[in-house]
Structure formats: C-alpha cells, structure tokens
C-alpha cells in the first residue's frame, strides 16, 4: 500500500479531510501545532454555530472524536512541519519535534488568524475594557458566564455590534469580505437578546451579507423575532464619557451625525490569512494569493490544488470560509489527494 496522506492543521477542514481519507482506507497523519484538535471553533471557544445552532464543543467535538477513534489516523499534536521535500508520491516532511514522515501527498488545512482589533485604534479596542470582539462574546456565552461588561461585570443595557472590523478596508490592506461575520453577528445579537431580554442590540453595517439561506433565519429572524436594529453607518470612533461608551458616526440613511451611548461595543472581527502563511509558503513551496492566503491553482477541475503538484489546500487556509464550506472542501481535497496518490503509484508501477 502506498504512503500515507499528510494533513497539516486539525480544524474543521483538516478533520473532514482526515475522516474522508481514512474512511477510504488510507493512512493519514494529522499534524496540529496546538495541544488540541478542533481548530478555531474549539481553540477560541465559540458558542452555538451558524447555521445549526449546535454548540461548537458538541458539533466539532464529534468531528474530533470520529477522527481520533479511526485506526487509520495518527495524530501528532504540538508540532509543525519544518521542512518538506521530495516528489509527488514520495514526499518527506520533517517535524519540529524531530522525526520524518513519508507522505504520498499533503493537504494544508492551516486555517486563518483572527483579525487583531488593536489595528483599528479608533474603535476603542484595547483602550476601553467594554469594547470586545465577537470571539470574546462567543466565549462569554460558551463558558456559561453570560454576556457581561468586562469593566464591572454588569449586564449591558445597550450593545453595539460593528461589522467588517478588519475586513473590506483598504486602509489596513484587507480588501476581502470575511463572509461569515454578518451572520455570526446577527446570531450573537439574538443570543444576547435571549439571555438579556431587556437589552437593546444595534448592528452597524455597510452592507449585510447573510447569504443564501442565512437571510431568512438570521437577518430577518433577528429583526422580526428579536427586535435587533440595523443601522447603515460605518462608525468613526468609539470614545467614552467616563461612564459609558460613545459611538460616533453618520447614519447615512437619515444623513445625520450620531453619537450614541452604549454599555458594550462588539467588533465583528474578520478572518486574516494565517500568520504562519509566509512560513508555510516557503516550507511547502506553495504560492500565496495576492491577499496572503494559500493560492489555488484552479477553480473548477481540481478545486483544492495549490501551485505545487501533490500539495492540496482546503478551508480557511485559502480564504475566508464558513465551517460548512471548509468541511466540504476538506472532503474534496481528500478525494483529490487519494486520486493523486493512486495516480502516482500506478505511474510508478508502469
């Protein structure tokens, strides 16, 4: 039987690829740099996922369980690939903690990095404790502590969610839309209203991108059932009057300046390219696209092919993706890698 498939990154995409390849009877080695599998939803402690409303710990937890219990999968935690050489069908990867792995092909599922809100200082993150990110709100909910102002633990009366923080912004070199943050924000808004029925939640948007089936359940659901308010304005700055946060901007639909007090301001942070991508690019010899994600060689015939034959990519490693799409791409990459490895073996046999 031929060499195993090496999968780098144990998030939704990597878990899906590992499951698919291992279920097809192939040996899989899954390398993850953190001490746990599960990727962003587990490592960052997301609460209920869009669109299933399942808890991340349960949903992604089940994916992890399925993979670690599969005898064809060998998981290597707390390590990374530091060198990668060879030809398609016979690659050798050297791990940071020592040891070589032989692999027929490789799938990069190394995901994304959360945008760091301190890079938009005008929106108050890092200056005012009650300015938080969607990730932090996810953690407040998933930990069971509930949504509270970090400064004094009070229940917020008014919450503002600012969309597109770290996305769609040429000023900071990030032109992409992060795809999921509109829907995640309307979902969080509903969760906040459910936990704190007396609260008021406002979403400040430039465009709303609750695409496909998310539109009815999240965009309209949040307004019709949960009375979440949507205001078309990109905020100029978040300051404080000493007691509450002040959100300033222009309500573009009524053409008037706004200056509104809030107890909590939430940044809907975007999905940056993984900070490791430069290193991954040079170790694996794959090109990055102009935004800094791992580039795809082709859109239609081999969805997951990178610039290097035998090395595939799936999930948020190649651009902002939802969990569902990352899972679908993980399976697609597994098929591509299996076929590729088989092709290499039969070619070698001739």
């Amino acid at each position: 039987m031929s060499e195993p498939i090496l999968i780098v990154g144990g998030g939704p995409a990597g878990l899906s690829a590992a499951h698919a390849a291992a279920s097809a009877g192939r040996k899989v080695i899954l390398v993850e740099k953190e001490d746990r599998l599960g990727g962003a939803p587990i490592l960052s402690g997301y609460a209920r996922l869009v669109p299933s409303h399942e808890w991340a710990a349960d949903a992604i937890g089940a994916m992890v369980k399925r993979v670690v219990e599969n005898p064809n999968v060998e998981v290597r935690l707390n390590t990374q690939v530091q060198a990668f050489s060879g030809e398609p069908g016979a690659f050798t990867a050297t791990l940071k903690d020592g040891g070589n792995i032989s692999a027929a092909s490789t799938i990069l599922t190394t995901g994304f990095t959360h945008f760091d809100s301190v890079n938009k200082p005008e929106w108050g993150f890092g200056t005012y404790p009650d300015v938080v990110t969607t990730t932090q709100v996810e953690q407040m909910i998933s930990s069971g502590r509930g949504v509270r102002c970090p400064s004094d633990g009070r229940k917020p009366d008014r919450v503002a969610i600012l969309l597109c923080v770290g996305s769609r912004d040429r000023q900071i070199g990030r032109e992409w839309c992060s795809k999921i943050c509109c829907t995640v924000s309307s979902n969080l808004a509903m969760e906040i209203r459910e936990e704190l029925p007396n609260s008021n939640v406002y979403i400040y948007y430039m465009d709303i991108r609750t695409f496909g089936l998310y539109e009815g359940e999240f965009y309209w659901g949040s307004q019709e059932e949960y009375k979440v308010k949507y205001i078309k304005a990109r905020i100029a700055e978040v300051t404080s009057d000493g007691k509450r946060l002040l959100v300033k901007g222009e309500d573009t639909l009524v053409k008037r300046p706004i200056s509104i007090p809030f107890d909590m301001v939430v940044h809907a942070v975007g999905m940056d390219p993984n900070v490791d991508n430069m290193t991954l690019s040079s170790v694996f010899g794959v090109d990055l696209n102009k935004y800094g994600y791992i580039g795809r060689a082709n859109t239609y015939t081999t969805l997951c092919q990178t610039s290097r034959p035998g090395v595939f990519v799936a999930g948020a490693a190649s651009g902002p993706e939802t969990i569902d799409d990352s899972i679908a791409q993980g399976s697609a990459a597994a098929i591509a890698a299996l076929n590729f490895a088989a092709g290499a073996v039969s070619a070698a046999a001739e």
């Binding site: 465009d207 304005a233 990109r234 100029a236 053409k255």
Partner: protein
C-alpha cells in the same frame, strides 16, 4: 398629502389653493396645503465621468457609501449639511439638480484630508471635493472660491518669477477677494516683526516687497509650466464638454 410641519419642506414644493371647497368643506388657503412629491426624474450619466476626469476625482467610482468620510470630516462637525458621502452618491448616480442645491457649501472643504485617512476604499474624498468644486466653477455654477483664488495668486507668482514673496501673495489675495489690507491680525503680525527683526533684515524685506526678486534663467521653466498648465486646463474643459478656452 396634507401637512403640518412646513419648515421641513422645500418652499417651492408647497402647493396651496386660494379657494377650494371639497365636498362642501371650505379648505381654502393653508387648509389645502399639499406637497409636490420630490421625484427624481432623470440621471445625468456623464456626471461621474466628468468629476472623475478632473484631478482628484479619479477614484470616485470606488465609493460604497459607508459614511466614514462624512463622520471624520472637519467641516461636517460644524455644518451637518457639508456631507461628502452624500455628494459622492449624487455624483455617482448623476443627480445633478440635487448636487447644485449645495453648490455654495461644497467649496468649503478645508483639505485637511481626515476623510482620506478614514476612507476604507481609498476614494480620496478630499480630491473628489476639490474636483467637484472645480467642476462647479468650470461649468459656471459658482464663482471662483477663495481657496482657488489663493492658489491662482500663489501659483501665478511662482510661474512668473520662480519665487514666492509672501507679502505680495497676501496683498494680491486680499485685492482679488476684495478684503482690506489692514486686517487686525496682519497689522499685529507686521508690528511684531518690525519690533523683533534686525534693521538690515527689515530693509532687505522692504526692498523685496517693492521689487520682487526673480530666479535667474527662469524664462524657459516658466514657458514650459505655462504650456503644461494650459494643456491640463484644456483637457479638463474638454472632459466637461466645454470649449477649449474658458473666460480667464
């Protein structure tokens, strides 16, 4: 639709019937006040391209109406009617009549570029404001703005002599904008200078004001700059469908 709050309505859109009886009810005068609907009846498709053809307006097509320029804007903080985002919207859709309603405030942009640093789409709204003010002038909708006059006086002197003599620039600027020379702040400044500067320096300053220095061998540079400036001006006018030479 009958209305109650007339102050919110543009006067030309108010309609009243002096004598009107409806079903036996006398509703003459303000009892029959109606509002003419403010329907948009046409788009000037050329407007965006015209603004984009003028220096500074190049990136106007990128705007997605987020409002960051307006809420960062120095002038908007003082006058909420000064709204670069809104004007960019009108220009992009070609709503020329609406734009012209604000022609007397558009030039008030102070070129602080706060909008430019706030804009997530790199539209450079400051440039767009400049291009729009320029467009209003070229089309004859507004007289030359004070800042335009200042630029002309300043540039005119550089082009003519290859140098800048501050006193002369101020004098010309005041003359062209019809302002008196004995502005209190200017008088205070000059008196302050006279008190503090050494005599020899003051004499030099005085001579320079009466007989400005020239950069030696400037003639060729001057001609080249003039030629270029005329070329640009002709281009701008052509982009706006105006004759090659305007009333200078």
């Amino acid at each position: 639709m009958p209305i109650h709050e007339k102050s919110l309505i543009r006067p030309e859109n108010l309609r009243e019937q002096e004598n009107l009886v409806i079903e036996g009810m006398d509703v003459s005068g303000h009892w029959s006040t109606f509002i003419e609907s403010r329907a948009v009846t046409d788009y000037n498709e050329a407007l965006q391209e015209e603004i984009a053809a003028l220096p500074g307006g190049e990136n106007i097509h990128r705007c997605w109406q987020c409002g960051s320029c307006t809420n960062a804007c120095t002038v908007n903080a003082v006058n909420p009617e000064f709204n670069p985002r809104y004007w960019i919207y009108l220009i992009r859709l070609g709503m020329e009549d609406e734009l012209l309603r604000d022609k007397d405030i558009i030039w008030q942009c102070v070129s602080c570029n706060k909008c430019t640093y706030a804009c997530p789409r790199d539209v450079v709204p400051e440039g767009v404001m400049k291009a729009t003010a320029h467009w209003l002038e070229l089309k004859g909708h507004t007289p030359k703005s004070p800042s335009m006059l200042f630029d002309e006086v300043f540039a005119g002197q550089v082009i003519k002599t290859g140098r800048i003599e501050d006193g002369l620039v101020l004098r010309d600027f005041f003359k062209r904008t019809g302002q008196p020379l004995n502005q209190p702040w200017l008088v205070a400044m000059v008196l302050g200078l006279v008190k503090r500067f050494p005599l020899a320096y003051l004499i030099k300053l005085g001579i320079a004001t009466i007989r400005p220095d020239r950069t030696r061998g400037w003639g060729r540079a001057r001609d080249a700059i003039n030629e270029y400036a005329e070329e640009v001006e002709a281009q701008n006018r052509k982009a706006l469908g105006l004759g090659a030479k305007g009333a200078k």
